[in-house]
């Protein structure tokens, strides 16, 4: 295991940015572990959420932003709800994903691809086109076996629309995305 030199390797700016973007004070965390205890996703995390909090406190930007955990958090809010110090942990996980994206990091690429495909669908149609989203995701990841088994179960039910519900204001929705991109690049 690497030795962390806390005088040299403490990224103060990272700690400040996490606090600013999440509106949370990370020094409130006293490492009780309640978030990890309740997190349904601990079993797939590479770093349990309480240790993510610890590493944020310790200013360990690279370790945190390259972790798989931040991409496997489903924002189920159990950590936020049960934190004895009222820290919105789920919001911090969200903010860490935002920062990882900005750094070009995505330790679980298929999750990011799925979310991006979802947003692409919203941007194109104004609403999510479920079947289109799935096809798009499969095309991007090459994971052609995804949910193939479910096709026979769902298609006969007539639930999945074969074409998107285009809304009249879809240009407006697209403009939201465009302006967002302009703002984030400026």
């Amino acid at each position: 295991m690497n030795i962390i030199n806390l005088t040299r390797d403490y990224d103060e700016d990272f700690v400040h940015r996490v606090e600013e973007e999440s509106g949370q004070k990370v020094s409130l965390c006293y490492q009780c572990g309640n978030c990890t205890a309740g997190c349904p996703y601990t079993f797939v995390y590479d770093i349990p959420v309480s240790q993510i909090m610890r590493l944020v406190q310790a200013g360990q930007k690279k370790t945190v932003l390259s972790s798989k955990s931040i991409w496997l958090c489903a924002t189920c809010e159990s950590c936020t709800t049960r934190c004895p110090n009222n820290i919105d942990v789920a919001c911090i996980m969200d903010v860490l994903r935002h920062m990882a994206r900005r750094e070009g990091l995505a330790a679980v690429p298929q999750v990011k691809t799925f979310w991006d495909s979802f947003l692409d669908s919203v941007r194109a149609h104004g609403r999510v086109f479920e079947l289109g989203l799935l096809i798009n995701y499969v095309a991007k990841t090459g994971r052609f076996w995804t949910d193939m088994d479910l096709g026979p179960k769902i298609l006969p039910k007539g639930k999945l629309a074969m074409k998107p519900h285009e809304i009249q204001g879809k240009e407006h929705v697209a403009r939201i995305f465009e302006r967002f991109e302009r703002e984030s690049n400026s």
Partner: protein
């Protein structure tokens, strides 16, 4: 004594949770709660939006909230907890003026910030009331053992959702009890089912949904009533994936609570839409109901 509220079905209401949408509309209409469609509503952005950026997420929600305001209404109900969370989070975050300014910059029309969003479940409990629901029951669900599963974000975090108990919610339990069903205490009411990882990480969803099905069977439930399209999909449509991953053999129906309301209120089968579920609840239902006689 009809009450009106704007209605935001959410994208899945047009597809994978059609039966939630139709049963919700039918039940509310029968109970005198008038759901007024929001013209040209768009997607709230769901989880993918807030994991990308909070301003973007709030703008996607705010567009819809402003559409409600333009209808001259001040409240919207949605059946989907994920939509609900996004709409409420947007409202909460724009209370801070600098954040609101950033959101308005992304919008064609700035959002005034005065439209409240609640769940259909909350509207049924608070705007309609259990007494009215009870009075509308024509076929009591006597003998049916139901576990009520609320999903992770219907009530959490409590400061944001401001509805029911965040650890032991009772709204759906109370409705089903009013319908005459036997509600079994379900300890994992608010545990996460695996959310939207069904596609990118099916292993994760299978394990989490598997725990829920195990618990529901363990407490002797005939079926699991749900209030979330994603939960429903994970527990019902993906039940075969669960069985394969966990080596189990569950075959337990997972209807929306509004569908069960529809049964008790003698709503037309076409509106209830049991046929759209993967595990058809009708055999279990008729067995339970006839056993009660």
């Amino acid at each position: 004594m009809s009450e009106a509220i704007a209605y935001y079905p959410g994208c899945s209401g047009l597809g994978t949770s059609k039966e939630y949408d139709t049963s919700t509309r039918a039940v509310c209409a029968a109970l005198g709660l008038s759901l007024v469609d929001i013209p040209d509503w768009s997607c709230c952005g769901s989880t993918p939006a807030h994991t990308k950026d909070h301003t973007l997420s709030a703008a996607l929600s705010a567009r819809n909230l402003q559409l409600v305001a333009n209808m001259g209404m001040t409240a919207a109900a949605t059946p989907c907890p994920s939509c609900l969370t996004n709409l409420r989070t947007a409202n909460h975050r724009i209370e801070a003026a600098p954040f609101k300014a950033k959101v308005d910059k992304l919008l064609d029309e700035p959002y005034g910030g005065d439209v409240n969003a609640i769940s259909v479940l909350q509207a049924l409990v608070e705007n309609v009331g259990l007494d009215t629901i009870k009075a509308a029951v024509r076929t009591p669900l006597k003998g049916l053992k139901v576990a009520c599963y609320y999903g992770c974000i219907m009530n959490r975090p409590p400061e944001l959702m401001a509805f029911d108990d965040c650890e032991n919610p009772m709204a759906m339990d109370n409705i089903l009890a009013a319908l005459g069903a036997e509600v079994v205490p379900f300890p994992l009411k608010v545990e996460c089912c695996g959310a939207s990882y069904g596609i990118p990480r099916p292993d994760v969803t299978a394990k989490l949904s598997g725990k829920l099905l195990e618990a529901a069977v363990g407490v002797g439930a005939d079926m699991v009533a749900v209030a979330c399209p994603l939960c429903q999909m994970n527990l019902d449509l993906r039940q075969s994936q669960v069985n394969r991953a966990m080596g189990t053999n569950y075959r337990i129906p997972v209807p929306y609570f509004t569908q069960l309301m529809g049964v008790a209120m003698n709503i037309a089968d076409t509106e209830i839409g049991f046929g759209k579920l993967n595990v058809d609840p009708r055999p279990v239902l008729s067995r339970a109901l006839s056993g009660a006689d």
